[in-house]
Each structure stands twice: as structure tokens, then as C-alpha cells.
Amino acid sequence: MAAAAEEAEFDNSLRLYTYRQVVATGKAPTVAQAAAEMGGSEAAVRAAYARLGESHAFMLTEKGELWRVAPFSAIPTPFPVESGGRTYYANCIWDALGVPAMLGQDATIPASCACCNLEMTLRVKAGSLLPHEGVIHVAVPARRWYEDVVFT
């Protein structure tokens, strides 16, 4: 029981450390960096990320490094978000909107229409999304989103 509580505490601390790193630097920490900062082994950090990944919020590459720290992407994507003087990358338009929602700060999202590349720059200001024409299309039914997260 105590071990489970310690594990949960470690996972939560790692989660918060990882988010703070992404917010501060625009980049996800490597497993080695996280292990050094958290005072754990790389295996322990990887196992914790795997547990955090059960909610699909954190996901690891085949090499065992973070590629998804939802709403952020650890690798560049077509969904950049400019906020607080930094450029972040999100995994999809829902996540791109999630960045200012999470940070509680203004943002510019230089998005484009998926079918015709028409520029669709979205702006969040003082807690509101400024009006803009457009719709968000989700191709995959909700129950199948995590069968192939990259495609979804």
C-alpha cells in the first residue's frame, strides 16, 4: 500500500516536472534529464511515463523518449502555438487550443485548413477565443481514438 502511494506520488511529481519543463523551454525533457532531476533511475522514469501514458496524456517513442505530453507534442507538428514568447507544438487543433487553456495566457495559433492550406490563424485573448470562421473535423469515432493516436 505504501509502495503504491509512493509510486503515485513519484508519478505526479514527474508529471508536474515534465509539464514545467515543457512550459519553460518548449521542449520535453529526455528520460535521462528527468531521472537526474527527479533522483530516480531511467528505468523508474520510463516506467512512470508508461503509467502516466495509461490516460494517453504522455506517450513514448519506440526509443523510449516522450513524443506526447498532452496537449504538447515533443516534436514539431503542423499545430504550432505561440504564447508567452515561446513556440510550442500541439498534437492537433484540440490540443493547440488546449495550450492556452492550460497556461491561462494569450496565444496565437497559426493553423491552416487541412484540405486547402488556407491560413487560419486563431487567437486566444483574455480567456476567449476570438471569432474565426471554420470547423474542427474529427475523422475517427471517439471510441477508436487511441487505436492509432498519430492518425487520429
Partner: protein
């Protein structure tokens, strides 16, 4: 949307407005930096979808 579906040979899925997307993002990610954050269970997630008007078969998590 129709053009995208034709390009990618996909059936049209679900869609919602940008404002719905913003509300969804706020509900989904608004407390993500909180030390007390925990993931939604399926029922809670479904309730969030419903709050922003995403109901019906396409948005069902079951």
C-alpha cells in the same frame, strides 16, 4: 470537410465549431498543471463532451 474526405478517401466524421473546440479545450486541459489533476474516467469524459454539445454515436466512448 468534403474535400478532405475525398482526398483521404475517408467518410465524413464528426465536426464542431471552433468555439466548441475552445470550450472543450478549457474543460479538458484547464486544470492540467494542478497537482491534484487526475485523468477523466470514461463517464466523466463523456460528460465533458456532452457539456460542449458533442453527443450521439460518433462521440460515444463505449
Amino acid at each position: 470537410m468534403g474535400r478532405w474526405c475525398r482526398q483521404w478517401k475517408r467518410e465524413q466524421g464528426g465536426s464542431f465549431s471552433l468555439q466548441q473546440g475552445w470550450e472543450l479545450a478549457r474543460l479538458w486541459y484547464g486544470d492540467r498543471m494542478s497537482p491534484k489533476w487526475r485523468p477523466f474516467n470514461a463517464q466523466e469524459a463523456q460528460e465533458v463532451f456532452a457539456k460542449v454539445g458533442l453527443t450521439g454515436e460518433f462521440w460515444s466512448l463505449k
